[in-house]
Amino acid sequence: MATQHSRSAARLMMAPAVILLLGWMLVPLTMTLFFSFKKYLPMRGGDLGWVGFDNYIRFVTSSAFWPSVTATLVIVLGVLFITVVFGVLLAILLDQPMWGQGIVRILVIAPFFVMPTVSALVWKNMFMDPVNGLFAHLWQAFGLTPVEWLSQASLGSIVMIVSWQWLPFATLILLTAIQSLDSEQLEAAEMDGAPALSRFGFITLPHLSRAITIVVLIQTIFLLSIFAEIFVTTQGSFGTRTLTYLIYQRVLESQNIGLGSAGGIYAVILANIMAVFLMRIVGKNLDA
């Protein structure tokens, strides 16, 4: 696409896609902004006019706001930590030559194909149920009182369920990265006198830094908006109300579109703050 002519032709042909995507993004964002400045109660009078920043003030001064931010951060950071640490370990394990490697790899990736709603229900009913769950049976086998996972350790349970879903993704990305590591580098380090743990720390981990960055960035985007797992397990109770869930409750349970929209704008801001931080902390890995 070197000539003036071919460049403008290219622009012309790309235009429909770009306009469609831009519209897809801008229309909901503008509507959210629009509603966030209105008092809009569908069941209780509909559009009640402009209210300025009232919704924004009400949303942050509500006693549910800060706990929801904390819950969001705990879930995101917890899942990131678990998936990255176990993802690296699993990737190293799967990189070892072994019998039935292909099948094992597919099995490891499998959880990623299970829909969030389904996996959360499976966890809730088959594992975490305090009466019939597998964990309850396991605890009883050792003579212990079964834990009521979703009420006593609600946040931890959600982190566990979501980690289970995202671990395959992290493992997959990290496995491909680990496979691209030049084995001569490891051999050189071995000759240089580095024991296995040092080889991991000095060679493998730095080699994986870029892949870890990508895992962290992509997962953060998706984890900020998890919803189904909370919806089918705790319904936002026991401290598991994330920002996303709070907005849902404001819009659908309280039927307050204006307040929910203001929350949506806060969520956008929070996501951007996280994005800036992430770019600062880990983005430099992508340049190298």
Partner: protein
């Protein structure tokens, strides 16, 4: 000290015997080159010495001490890899410091050795750069620097120059030779390039399919190849091997004559043929001659500029004292 002795060392991968039991002694301070066509087991042999592969049987002694089951790090050997195997996320300084850091050498001593190695290898200006910012030759020197600072018993080089361009290769060849003269440490060098072997080695080990075909100094191998394989492998261009009636005249199954040992004349030669290709290099001229009745092609080297061209009929005379005779199994006959 860096004497390395291999006794009955063998290696099999599954059912494939890559290296049949072999014995080899590498004396302290010697520059030994393993040379052979690709797949001859020369790299495997080096990796066995390094300890990166386990031997199937046999013993390895370094300085008289059995090192067969000693892990690679404890053998006191430093290796330079074909891909250089530099650590991409570390600066040149950290790369060179790495083996000392692992060995727990104190910081001042580390810096002293790094400065010394960098000065010797012209790397002083590049110490803070990453390997990715260096050229092929500089990376090669960093890899050598990383090996030097360990002050090893012996250096192992695994085809270190094969990723460099021709001009750099000649330069690095000289640098490695100089380094050996200066350090007087044992070096084992693997290559498939017989020119590298001839120019650098004190001792060449020619390998084929895991077997040692001949061990000797470069000129021994050149003048007295033990068999027709070594005769064909050492020397450039390749030795002409002639079978049939012409060989029978010398009571041999085949005879070998190097291109540089054939004289070219306009007339009156022992053999005659038609020039198929003439390669004029200025210092030398190579002729590939067809239709001599001795075999496919005969390669001849004439010194300086000789004006024959494609299609010319030329006369060739081998120097009688430079004819190598081989029996039916390819072995040299005296």
């Amino acid at each position: 000290m860096g004497q390395i002795i291999l006794e009955k060392v063998s290696k099999t991968f599954g059912d494939v015997e890559v290296i049949p039991p072999l014995d080899l002694t590498i004396e302290d301070g010697e520059f030994t080159v393993f040379v052979g066509p690709s797949g001859c087991g020369k790299s495997t042999l080096l990796r066995l010495i390094a300890g990166l592969e386990d031997m199937t049987s046999g013993t390895l002694k370094i300085d008289g001490v059995d090192a067969t089951h000693v892990p690679p790090a404890k053998r006191g050997l430093a290796m330079v890899f074909q891909s250089y195997a530099l650590y991409p996320h570390m600066s040149v300084r950290k790369n060179i410091a790495f083996p000392m850091r692992m060995a727990g050498v104190d910081k001042a001593e580390q810096d002293r050795r790094i400065e010394q190695a960098a000065a010797a290898l012209n790397l002083t200006d590049y110490l803070e750069r990453r390997p990715g910012q260096l050229s092929g030759g500089q990376r090669q020197r960093v890899a050598i620097g990383r090996a030097i600072v360990r002050e090893p018993e012996a250096f192992l080089f695994d085809e270190p120059l094969s990723n460099l361009d021709a001009a750099l290769r000649v330069g690095m060849r000289l640098e490695i030779s100089e380094l050996h003269k200066r350090l007087e440490t044992t070096m084992i060098y693997v290559t498939h390039d017989q020119v590298e072997a001839m120019t650098m080695a004190d001792k060449i080990v020619v390998l084929r399919a895991g077997f040692i075909e001949q061990v000797g100094s470069p000129l021994e191998l050149y003048h007295k190849p033990r068999n027709s394989f070594v005769a064909g492998f050492i020397g450039s261009p390749k030795m002409n091997l002639i079978e049939g009636p012409e060989a029978a005249k010398h009571d041999a199954h085949s005879i070998g004559i190097r291109p540089e040992h054939i004289d070219v004349t306009d007339s009156g030669g022992q053999w005659q043929g038609k020039v198929a290709v003439a390669e004029h290099l200025g210092s030398d001229t190579f002729f590939h001659v067809h239709g001599t009745g001795l075999g496919e092609t005969l390669t001849v080297r004439a010194t300086g500029e000789v004006g024959y061209k494609h299609g010319d009929i030329i006369h060739l005379t081998p120097r009688a004292d430079q004819i190598h005779r081989f029996d039916a199994s390819g072995l040299r006959m005296e």
